[in-house]
Amino acid sequence: MARVILEVRDVTKRFGGLVAVRDMVFDVHQNEVVGIIGPNGSGKSTMINMISGSFAPSGGSIRLNGQEIAGKPAHRTAQMGVARTFQLVRLLPELSVVENVVAGAAFGHRRRWGREAEQFARALLDRVGMGGQINMPVASLTYINTKRVELARALASEPEVLLLDEWLAGLNPTELETGIALIRSLRDDGRTIILVEHVMDAIRSLCDRCVVMSSGVKIAEGTPTEVLADAEVIRAYLGADEDA
C-alpha cells in the first residue's frame, strides 16, 4: 500500500464536559480519498477542524508525513501542507477571483508570488472549470462557481492533504454530477483528499475508504460498500428514528 500521509492517533476533543471526539484512530495514504461520514453531531466537523488547526485536540496526536501537527496554529498546519474548504463557502469579497486563488498560493505549502502565482492561479481556475467567468466580481458568481474558486484556492498551495468540508452540499443534481466528476479528476491527478460528506452518491463513487463516526467515536472503517452494509452504521443513521 502507498505511504501514510496523515496519521490520527487517539485524538480526543472535549468542550467543557462534552466529549465531541473520543480516541479517534485512522490513517490516510497517499493518493487516497477518505470519507469521514456519520449522522449530524457525530464529531466529523470537529475532527476536520483539528486536522486543519482550527482548534487543538485535548489529547492524542495527528502526524503529517511523520511531523506532529496537533495543536499547531492554523497557519502552521497550512504551511506544512493542509489546505481546506469551508462548510459555508468563504471567499474574499473585496478581492478579484484570481486574487482569491493567489491568496492560497502566496503563503501556504508551496509558495508562489507575483507573475508566477497569477499564472498558476489562472491555470487552476481553468482546471476547476471556471472557464470565462474569472473576471467577474466575487459577489456575482453563481453558487457552484464560488465553490470552484474556493477549491482552486485550496489547491493553490499544492497541499499534501486537501480537506473538503461538505464541498458538494447545496448543489443541484446537475451540478452535483459535475462536482463529483471534478473531485474524481483531482484524485486521478494524484491528490490526497479527506472529505466530510452527507451525499451518499458522492461517498460511494469517490471514496476509497470511509471512516464512520457516531457520537464522537469511530464505529466502522472500510470501503463504502462495506461500511454502508454494517449493522452498527445503519443503526447509527436510523437509530434516532426508532426511538422517536
Binding site: S52, P73, A74, H75, L92, P93, A106, F107, W113
Partner: protein
C-alpha cells in the same frame, strides 16, 4: 515596474518637490498651516497603512505622538537632534508591538477600547513619574525653525508614501488585505495573522512617534496633558476616513479640507470643534462610506457605464 507605476512615482516626487518649495514663498501663517497639514498627512497616511486593510480602528496615535515629543524633550540637550526621531521611532515600534501582541489576536472592539485609553494611560504614568521625581513640564528651546520642521515632515512623508507603495505590492500588504476580508481564511491560507497585524501596527506606531519627535520644538513647552491630548487620535481617524483608505493618496484628500475647516472653526467658534468632529464622524458613516476615494470611484464607475 509598469509604465503607470513610473508615472505615479514621478507625479508623487514632483508633488512633494513642489510642496518642499513652499517655505521660499511664505514663512508665516501659510507655512504654519502647511506644517499642520504635513503633520496630519504623515499621521493619517501611516494610520491608513494599518487600519485601511485590516479595518482595525486605532486610537493610539496620540500615545505614540506624545511618546515622540517626550523623547525630544528629554534628549535634545544631550543627543544630536537627528538621532531623536530615530529613537522615537524605535520606541514607538516597541510600544506598538506590546499593545499589538496583547490586543490584535482578539476582535476589533477590544483593540479600539484598548487604544482609546492608551494615551490617557501613558499620560497618567508620565505625570506620576514626574511628580515622584519632582519634575514639571519641560522647555524645548532649540534653534529649529518651523521651516526645518516642515522640511523634515515632507521628507518623512516621502518615506511613508514610498513605504506604503512598497507594502501594498508586497506579500505583507496582500496578507493584510486578506485578513481584512476574512481572518479565518487568512489563517488557513498559511498567514500568521497576528504577526502580520503587529508588524504593520509597528510601522504606524513608529511613524507617529517620529512625527512627535520632529514637532516637539514647535511646542516649546511640553507637558503630559498637551503632549498626550487624545483629540489628536480622533482627528487622524477622521481625516483618514474622510479621504478614504482605499488608495494611498486617500488620507491626503481628507487632510487638506479638514485642516482648513478645523482652522476656520477653531478661530471663529472654538467651542464647536467637538461638534464638528462628531458631525464629521456621522457624515462618514451615513453619507460618505469609503470617503472621497469611495466617492471618486463611484463617480468614475458611473462615468464609464454611461460612456459605453
Amino acid at each position: 515596474m509598469s509604465a503607470t507605476d513610473v508615472r505615479n512615482l514621478g507625479l508623487a516626487a514632483l508633488a512633494l518637490g513642489i510642496a518642499a518649495l513652499l517655505p521660499l514663498y511664505d514663512t508665516g501663517y501659510i507655512l504654519s498651516i502647511a506644517t499642520t497639514m504635513a503633520m496630519f498627512t504623515v499621521l493619517a497616511t501611516s494610520w491608513a497603512l494599518f487600519s485601511g486593510p485590516t479595518h482595525y480602528i486605532s486610537l493610539a496615535t496620540a500615545a505614540f505622538f506624545g511618546l515622540g515629543t517626550f523623547v525630544t524633550g528629554l534628549g535634545f540637550q544631550t543627543l544630536p537632534f537627528w538621532t531623536l526621531p530615530l529613537i522615537a521611532a524605535g520606541l514607538g515600534a516597541i510600544l506598538a508591538a506590546l499593545v499589538g501582541m496583547v490586543t490584535l489576536r482578539l476582535s476589533g472592539v477590544y483593540f479600539v477600547i484598548f487604544t482609546l485609553g492608551l494615551a490617557e494611560l501613558v499620560r497618567q504614568i508620565v505625570t506620576w513619574v514626574q511628580n515622584r521625581t519632582g519634575q514639571r513640564g519641560m522647555y524645548v528651546l532649540t534653534s529649529i525653525t518651523e521651516r526645518d520642521i516642515y522640511w523634515q515632515l515632507i521628507g518623512l512623508a516621502a518615506v511613508v508614501f514610498l513605504a506604503g507603495w512598497l507594502i501594498a505590492r508586497s506579500r505583507l500588504g496582500f496578507a493584510l488585505r486578506i485578513i481584512g476580508n476574512d481572518e479565518t481564511v487568512a489563517k488557513h491560507a498559511g498567514i500568521n495573522t497576528a504577526l502580520a497585524k503587529v508588524l504593520l501596527f509597528m510601522v504606524s506606531g513608529a511613524v507617529a512617534a517620529c512625527v512627535g519627535a520632529m514637532l516637539a520644538p514647535r511646542y516649546i513647552y511640553i507637558e503630559p496633558s498637551t503632549a498626550f491630548a487624545p483629540l489628536l487620535s480622533f482627528q487622524v481617524v477622521i481625516m483618514a476616513l474622510l479621504g478614504g483608505t482605499g488608495r494611498l493618496w486617500g488620507p491626503l484628500a481628507g487632510v487638506i479640507p479638514f485642516t482648513l475647516l478645523w482652522e476656520f472653526i477653531s478661530r471663529n467658534a472654538p467651542n464647536q470643534t467637538l461638534l464638528l468632529l462628531g458631525l464629521a464622524f456621522l457624515l462618514i458613516v451615513y453619507v460618505l462610506p469609503g470617503g472621497f476615494v469611495g466617492l471618486y470611484e463611484r463617480v468614475q464607475r458611473r462615468y464609464r457605464m454611461e460612456g459605453r
